[in-house]
């Protein structure tokens, strides 16, 4: 279930008793109901399901996760042959 996609909130307005936003998904712009995410402001990314924003994407968390994953990927790429040339300061093996 739950096909929900992140998009960028471009603008918001009150209309027909709801707060509606124009959200961009990679080049298409759709009208989305923002009533469930009142704290979202233009510039934020929101996660959208069935025409409704369900959450404001936490950019810091996304960045943190991404950094962790990138470090992991680097760790995976390091083989003994690729280990740094600097000797172990403690002199151990």
């Amino acid at each position: 279930m739950c096909l929900a996609v992140p998009g960028k909130l471009l603008a918001a307005e009150e209309r027909e008793g709801s707060r509606l936003g124009r959200v961009e998904f990679g080049g298409i712009v759709c009208e989305v109901c923002l009533d469930l995410v009142p704290e979202a402001v233009p510039g934020d990314y929101v996660i959208v399901h069935a025409g409704f924003a369900l959450s404001r994407l936490d950019a810091e968390e996304a960045e943190r996760t991404y950094q962790l994953l990138a470090e992991l990927e680097q760790a995976a790429n390091q083989t003994p042959a690729a280990a740094p040339a600097a000797p172990d300061p403690s002199g151990g093996m």
Binding site: M1, C2, L3, A4, V5, P6, K8, G17, S18, F25, G26, C33, D35, L36, V37, P38, Y45, I47, H49, A50, G51, F52, L54, S55, L57, D58, A59, E61, A62, R64, T65, Y66, L69, A70, L72, E73, Q74, A75, A76, N77
Partner: protein, 366 residues
């Protein structure tokens, strides 16, 4: 696309797979509940990438698959009424009822329309005052706030020709049912990230503690699922059983409070029959009495019917992760997407459809 492409990055995926291979020392059985996650796993072949000691089984996470037969039949009955316009999410149109499906009703002249959002059904109600608009409101907790908003707005706008046929299901009771079953083999769960975006993950903490099972809230892209699997395996290898959150860019422990408030205002918890599984107590949502004027069951005085599903039907076992679709005698022969025998073959997220679409020939090796 930002916040999507990064989580499909092949190098990150490989890094996670390598880390997983380093961590795992024993076989583990993991389950994802959400149909969207099943779809990603199949589409990207994640099960091929992860170490073979990790077995992935698929849970009843496709609301289309578990919508009771009785609800489909009621929707079909309504769609056949001359003054009714039945509006539905596209997923439901091809799901077989007892005798036919909504697509065939449309072919026969019924006014059946597809909507991406329930607000479109509201628009239709305003534009067509002479018709009765009924919206088929199915889904897990993810979709409940949208459906609740539509009903709430309908009442606020004083619409007289709009109602909803509600059949919502809740995830935690389903997990409880699975874990309580004597046949359960699942040792760790990936909790559905968009359900938890709405509901938070507090409800999963008592499950995790009571059954001593690790639960990780996971996103929907390949990198999300690999990270969630990695977190589960880490817990299992270390003998921990906690709730952790992988999908931190969207999920918080408390969830979306305005959404929960609206759901609370419009819906109440009830017993719900899950197709192929049976009755799970307190596992569904229905409209509250104050919203009776918008409840299609009341507006149209729909009778409660019971359709018995023979115990031989394997959908139940597939939905509970006890059998794989390929182990079904009818898979790919009597039962295909063109001629589905059961709901898991119809829905894009159904386990059978996912296996059929992406993996048919690999069955020989799997």
């Amino acid at each position: 696309m930002k916040y999507v492409d990064e989580y499909r990055d092949a190098r990150l995926a490989r890094g996670l797979v390598a880390e997983l291979a380093r961590k795992v020392t024993r076989p583990w059985v993991l389950m994802e509940i959400c149909g969207g996650q099943t779809h990603t796993l199949m589409r990207y072949g994640i099960d091929e990438l992860i170490p073979s000691q990790i077995e992935l089984v698929h849970g009843p996470g496709c609301p289309v698959c578990v919508t009771p037969l009785e609800i489909i039949d009621k929707a079909i009955y309504l769609a056949e009424q001359p003054n009714v316009t039945l509006v539905s999410y596209g997923d439901m149109l091809r799901v077989p009822g007892s005798h036919t499906d909504l697509l065939h009703v449309k072919a026969g002249g019924g006014d059946v329309r597809v909507a991406y959002s329930p607000m479109e059904a509201l628009k239709a109600a305003r534009a067509l005052p002479e018709r009765q608009i009924v919206f088929l409101g199915i889904g897990f907790e993810t979709t409940a706030p949208a459906n609740a908003t539509a009903v709430w707005q309908a009442r606020r706008q004083g619409l007289k020709n709009f109602s909803m046929l509600v059949s919502h299901v809740l995830v935690p009771p389903a997990i409880r049912m699975l874990l309580s079953s004597g046949r359960n083999r699942v040792q760790g769960f990936i909790a559905p990230g968009h359900v938890c975006t709405v509901m938070g993950y507090r409800e999963y903490e008592s499950l995790s503690q009571h059954f001593r099972v690790p639960i990780v809230v996971g996103g929907f892209e390949p990198v999300d699922l690999l990270e969630a699997i990695s977190m589960l395996v880490a817990q299992l290898e270390q003998g921990r059983a906690e709730v952790e959150n992988q999908y931190t860019r969207s999920v918080t422990r408390g969830g979306n409070l305005p959404a929960q408030k609206l759901m609370e205002e419009v819906f109440e918890v009830c017993d719900r029959k899950w197709r192929g599984i049976g009755l799970i107590p307190q596992s569904g949502l229905r409209l509250r009495a104050e919203y009776a004027a918008y409840d299609a069951e009341k507006v149209f005085e729909l009778q409660d019917t019971t359709v018995q599903e023979p115990p031989e039907c394997i959908s139940a076992q597939v939905l509970q992760g006890l059998k794989k679709p390929m182990e079904c005698a009818a898979f790919g022969k009597a039962c295909t997407p063109e001629r589905p025998l059961g709901a898991p073959m119809v829905s894009a997220e159904g386990a059978c459809a996912a296996y059929y679409r992406y993996r048919r020939h690999a069955g020989a090796g799997n």
